[in-house]
């Protein structure tokens, strides 16, 4: 199989009339990477994918695949293969004809095509199903046929446009693992579009988080989760409690933030924002629900939050406790299920502790809408 080919987006702008769909995107995707674009619907991630596959031209900037400028090269001439959101399997063709379509257009004989299709069917564990029509397959099977069809073209880069969104939860989780396995087996570059952070975090080597046409952060899944660069990333990826306040003091990569409700709180500064946060700035601080722990009341501590319990939900593997927070928003704490009946009573005042390393502070900004 072809080994990884790098994809570079250099200063890409895409405009539709007055509307700017993608703004100044600079992305360097390493060869053989599983790279995800993560963002809410309408953020421009599909537009980027269509520009990479050649269905639309960027208004400005350059796309390079394997170092080669792609401008003016049509989708049928690019070394990319796209897996469509609705899969776009050809309904009137048999499965094996679907898979080998890319060979059919180059004039390969039916025998060759059938042979290659059978190999790929083997790979996706659908051997013997080649003569069915796509409509006779289940959702997961169609999914795999779409992947096989794309791989049959021997692309250098596989582009996937939310291919799992139509599947049910169980199958989706199963397909994540399978996709990751396929990617490691064939070793080509995958560019994956999703609005589901779970998919992005589990499968990807690197993730770009997008908001309204702008890429906020490009990093590994780990770093995105633990060290979000912007309030949007912090609030969009995973669950997070936000505390608003003003910077009171800065010491190295830690900041003391004075909040309205919980007094002064200590937090690490997001690595990319170190030096950009100054005393007196409006700031936001994020603490994950699982980073909060129950503890004894210690009034003076700078890593303790005291609040009234609003309610409590049992979620199976954990309890979620909601406490009164800033500006009408509740603070959520997640406690692992240790066999207890309940954690708290309504109206009870709890003291929550955290480690300053697990809190992230950054300049105030826009949050992801819920």
């Amino acid at each position: 199989m072809s080994s990884g080919v790098a994809v570079d987006l250099e200063d890409i702008w895409i405009r539709f009339g007055d509307f700017v769909a993608v703004k100044e995107a600079n992305v360097a995707i390493k060869g053989g990477d599983f790279f995800s674009f993560l963002g809410p619907s309408g953020c421009g991630k599909t537009t980027i994918l269509r520009a990479v596959s050649g269905f639309l031209d960027p208004s400005q900037g350059q796309i390079r695949i394997g170092g080669k400028d792609m401008s003016g090269i049509g989708p049928n001439k690019r070394p990319t293969a796209l897996i469509f959101q609705n899969l776009a399997l050809f309904p009137l063709m048999k499965v094996w004809e679907n898979i080998s379509f890319s060979m059919e257009v180059t004039g390969a004989s039916a025998k060759q095509r059938r042979k290659r299709a059978d190999e790929l069917l083997d790979m996706i564990a659908l051997d013997g199903q080649g003569d069915k029509l796509p409509s006779e397959l289940s959702g997961g099977q169609k999914q795999r046929v779409a992947i096989a069809r794309a791989l049959c073209a021997n692309p250098d880069v596989l582009l996937l446009d939310e291919p799992l969104s139509a599947l049910d939860l169980k199958l989706r989780q199963h397909m994540r693992t399978e996709l990751r396995e396929i990617q490691q087996r064939v070793g080509i570059t995958f560019i994956y579009i999703t609005h589901d952070q779970g998919e992005a975090l589990t499968m990807s080597d690197n993730v770009a988080v997008m908001k309204a046409g702008v890429i906020d952060q490009i990093d590994t899944g780990h770093n995105i989760y633990d060290h979000p660069a912007t309030p949007f990333v912090a609030s969009f990826v995973g669950e997070n409690n936000v505390f608003r306040g003003r910077v009171k003091e800065i010491k190295g990569n830690e900041a003391l933030i004075s909040t309205n409700r919980s007094g002064d709180l200590l937090s690490s500064i997001s690595p990319s924002q170190v030096g950009k946060l100054a005393v007196g700035d409006d700031a936001m601080m994020f603490i994950r629900p699982e980073a909060l722990q129950l503890g004894p009341a210690k009034k003076s501590s700078k890593t303790t939050i005291s609040a009234n319990v609003i309610n409590e939900e049992f979620e199976g593997n954990s309890f979620s406790v909601f406490l009164e927070g800033d500006g009408g928003k509740s603070v959520k704490m997640s406690v692992p299920n240790g066999g207890q009946d309940k954690i708290s009573d309504r109206g009870e005042v709890l003291s929550l502790h955290y480690n300053a390393n697990n809190a992230v502070a950054m300049p105030a900004g826009e949050l992801a809408s819920e």
């Binding site: 309904p91 379509f101 059919e104």
Partner: protein, 416 residues
């Protein structure tokens, strides 16, 4: 409860009137094809006969007309289906602000009177010929004044709009992602069209082609201007109907009606069968294992109708050769002669009576009307003008005398 049944009765009456208006004339016309009377009528019924089909089949004008209609139909289907398909594809891609203007332009031919389309086609190509300066001798001049060529163009002008409508309906359900997927997999645009869009459009192309052929086949308004020195079935028919009618046209109509019913039943039966197969595939219905009827007829009224119709047609064709209406015709002729004699007698008596009572006002023609009123439809003119042995000859022979001018001419004088 009472008003409910009243509504039911009203609805039933309305449906009856509507469908009588719609189908009644066709039924009557079909029946006239089997009456031996030389003028198409059902009452009085003379003799059951197949001879009008014979007359029809021997009519060279009609055979020629059908031949040219088919040629024009094939040309029109080819041209209008390709133009309609192209126009519908362009419609899905045309720049949004241009779309309504574009749509108005390509839908307009449906609304332009056929007469106008015919004239404009005729005038335009004549002008093109003049503009190019082609003289009477050249092939190009021949082409621009060729009835077949002009008729195909004239008909395609609006039939393409019909085809376009069929395609637009189908294209709305097309996932453009499929074409993109094909392109993404390396297909050229032509390959993507041929392998993805065309197979998807195939059912629509088939129905558009049928529609276009039928529309072309039955077009009169445009064709009558553009056909010049050729003739199509419709122009032949129009001429025949205008100049005088005989039941061979009814027999043609009967054939057309039977074919239409046949096609409708085939469509219905296959439609029913397909739905049933789908239902069986989805496990909603269990297939019948054993039965007297073949499986395709199970619960399928259309299939029953189809088989029944086929039987009737077979019986008709089978008996056509053996059925001989000559005896019946002789009887009718005899009865009519007796009737005529009696009528003349009555007439003379009436005249004698009237001349006695008011001799001044008597006119020679007037008495002829009086008895026909008194005796209702018994003395239809058809019985008087009919010629039994040679139905094709239309000139009435002697013997019918004075009654001729009273009854027959009204049927011939519409267009002078």
């Amino acid at each position: 409860m009472k008003s409910d049944s009243l509504i039911r009765i009203a609805l039933g009456a309305y449906l009856l009137i509507f469908f009588s208006y719609l189908l009644g004339p066709l039924l009557v016309m079909s029946l006239t094809a089997f009456n031996s009377a030389s003028f198409p009528s059902v009452s009085p019924w003379a003799c059951f006969t197949y001879e009008w089909f014979d007359v029809l089949l021997r009519d060279k004008h009609i055979r020629d007309g059908i031949y040219y209609s088919v040629i024009i139909g094939i040309g029109t289907v080819t041209l209008s289906v390709s133009m309609g398909l192209a126009a519908s594809i362009v419609l899905t891609q045309v720049w949004p602000r241009l779309r309504s203007t574009y749509y108005t332009l390509i839908i307009a031919p449906i609304l332009i009177p056929g007469v106008v389309l015919g004239i404009s086609t005729l005038v335009f190509w004549d002008r093109v010929g003049a503009f190019l300066g082609v003289s009477d001798e050249t092939a190009l001049y021949g082409l621009f004044h060729n009835g077949l060529f002009l008729t195909i163009l004239g008909q395609s002008t609006f039939i393409a709009s019909y085809a376009m409508l069929v395609f637009v309906a189908r294209l709305q359900r097309f996932d453009t992602g499929l074409t993109e997927a094909a392109l993404d997999l390396g297909a050229t645009h032509t390959q993507a069209f041929r392998k993805i869009l065309l197979p998807f459009m195939r059912p629509a192309i088939a129905s558009a082609a049928v529609l276009a052929f039928l529309a072309s086949f039955e077009n009169y308004n445009t064709t009558t201007f553009t056909i010049i020195d050729y003739k199509t079935l419709t122009t032949v028919l129009a001429q025949k109907v205008r100049l005088g009618i005989n039941p061979s046209i009814s027999s043609l109509a009967f054939i057309v009606i039977v074919l239409t019913v046949f096609a409708a039943l085939v469509f219905e039966a296959t439609h029913h069968n397909r739905k049933r197969k789908d239902a069986i595939a989805q496990g909603k219905v269990t297939p019948v294992k054993k039965g007297i009827l073949p499986p395709f007829m199970h619960g399928n009224a259309a299939a029953f109708g189809l088989v029944a119709l086929a039987c009737v047609v077979i019986v008709m064709i089978g008996t056509a050769g053996k059925h001989d209406p000559q005896v019946c015709k002789a009887d009718v002729r005899e009865a009519r002669m007796l009737e005529t004699e009696r009528r003349i007698k009555v007439l003379n008596e009436t005249r004698a009576l009237r001349e006695q009572s008011e001799p001044a006002e008597s006119t020679p023609n007037k008495p002829a009307l009086a008895p026909s009123g008194a005796f209702g439809g018994v003395f239809a003119p058809t019985n008087l003008t009919e010629d039994d042995a040679e139905p094709e000859t239309e000139t009435p022979k002697g013997g019918s005398g004075a009654f001729d001018n009273v009854f027959a001419p009204t049927n011939l004088d519409t267009e002078d």
